[in-house]
Amino acid sequence: MRFLRPTLKLAALLLSSVLSFPVLAAGSVDVYGELENPALQARYEHITEDLRCLVCQNESIADSNVELAADLRRQVREMLIAGKSDDAIFKFMTDRYGEFVRFNPPLTPKTWLIWGAPFIMVAVGAVIIIRVARQRARLPLDDEPASET
């Protein structure tokens, strides 16, 4: 990379670190290896990515190295092998840890604000823009030459 300009060098460095990160992260946690049934493995990945590690609250249990996350992954794995549905597994977790354990909480009367907030924000923004635009439209155009009238 000797011939790269410093900015390019930096960009390349960033890019390579970003690209290598998921590989490192994926390699670090699971001790049991993949499930034999690929369909179960896919569900396992989907579920563990949607469950929050409560020790390090912005990580999923799929990503976390904490012991509790390992225990919860083991729990998910065992329930999958026992033939439990995704809903049953999520219910098992929310019964014990509350809705907060899910990164994608289901739409319920208690969570509508979380899901609705982005739309409310956009609507409020739209109202403000429209009002300002209308106000401006009513203003006289002061750069019109006075001689024309």
Binding site: L54, V55, D71, L72, D95, R96, Y97, G98
Partner: protein, 179 residues
């Protein structure tokens, strides 16, 4: 009119948000337990001090008790240990321990050296009991009433104030209601 109301309303809303959100006494990691008001999860574990003895929730039925989750790896548990010893001295309520993610000999050494506030200590070998109770750290302290329902959970090291203000009145209320 609106030119005045909207900024003031926005200011008040933000002030309330910050007052709640930035309150230094609020533990941002403390989560409300969905177990409150529900039946306490059952367990039947071996005792840390004596593996031939069982620590069984069925045997605790009908009495108000406190379950304290701890481990020798947990610095905050060391911090609250003297308080637990003081509470045990008051003989208000049985203190049951749940030793979590730990090694038996270390736990034994801890209780022998520092003193044992617990009536019995269940040894949670594989963390399954802790998952059932929704434990995500230590120390965590639960209060269970005579009908076997979880009525309170406290996350953080126990202090004399918390014991007096949060636990003692609830224990008294649970006993008064005959539960």
């Amino acid at each position: 009119m609106w030119k005045f109301v909207i900024p003031v309303a926005a200011f008040v809303a933000l002030a309330v948000l910050f007052a709640v959100g930035l309150n230094p006494h609020r533990d941002i990691h403390a989560l409300p337990s969905p177990l409150i008001g529900k039946a306490a999860p059952k367990f039947d574990l071996t005792d840390v001090m004596d593996p031939s003895r069982r620590v069984d929730t069925a045997a605790l039925k009908g009495q108000v008790y406190v379950l304290n989750v701890w481990g020798t790896w947990c610095v905050a548990c060391r911090e609250e240990h003297d308080e637990l010893l003081a509470i045990a001295q008051q003989h208000v309520v049985p203190l049951i321990g749940l030793d979590y993610m730990d090694q038996r000999d270390k736990a034994r050494q801890w209780l022998t050296q520092l003193g044992n506030p617990y009536q019995s200590v269940g040894f949670d070998t594989d963390g399954r009991t802790a998952i059932d109770w929704g434990v995500y750290g230590a120390p965590e302290t639960f209060l269970v009433d005579g009908q076997g329902r979880v009525i309170f959970k406290f996350i953080s090291p126990m202090t004399a104030e918390v014991w007096q203000n949060e636990f003692v009145p609830r224990i008294a209320a649970a006993r008064r209601s005959g539960a």
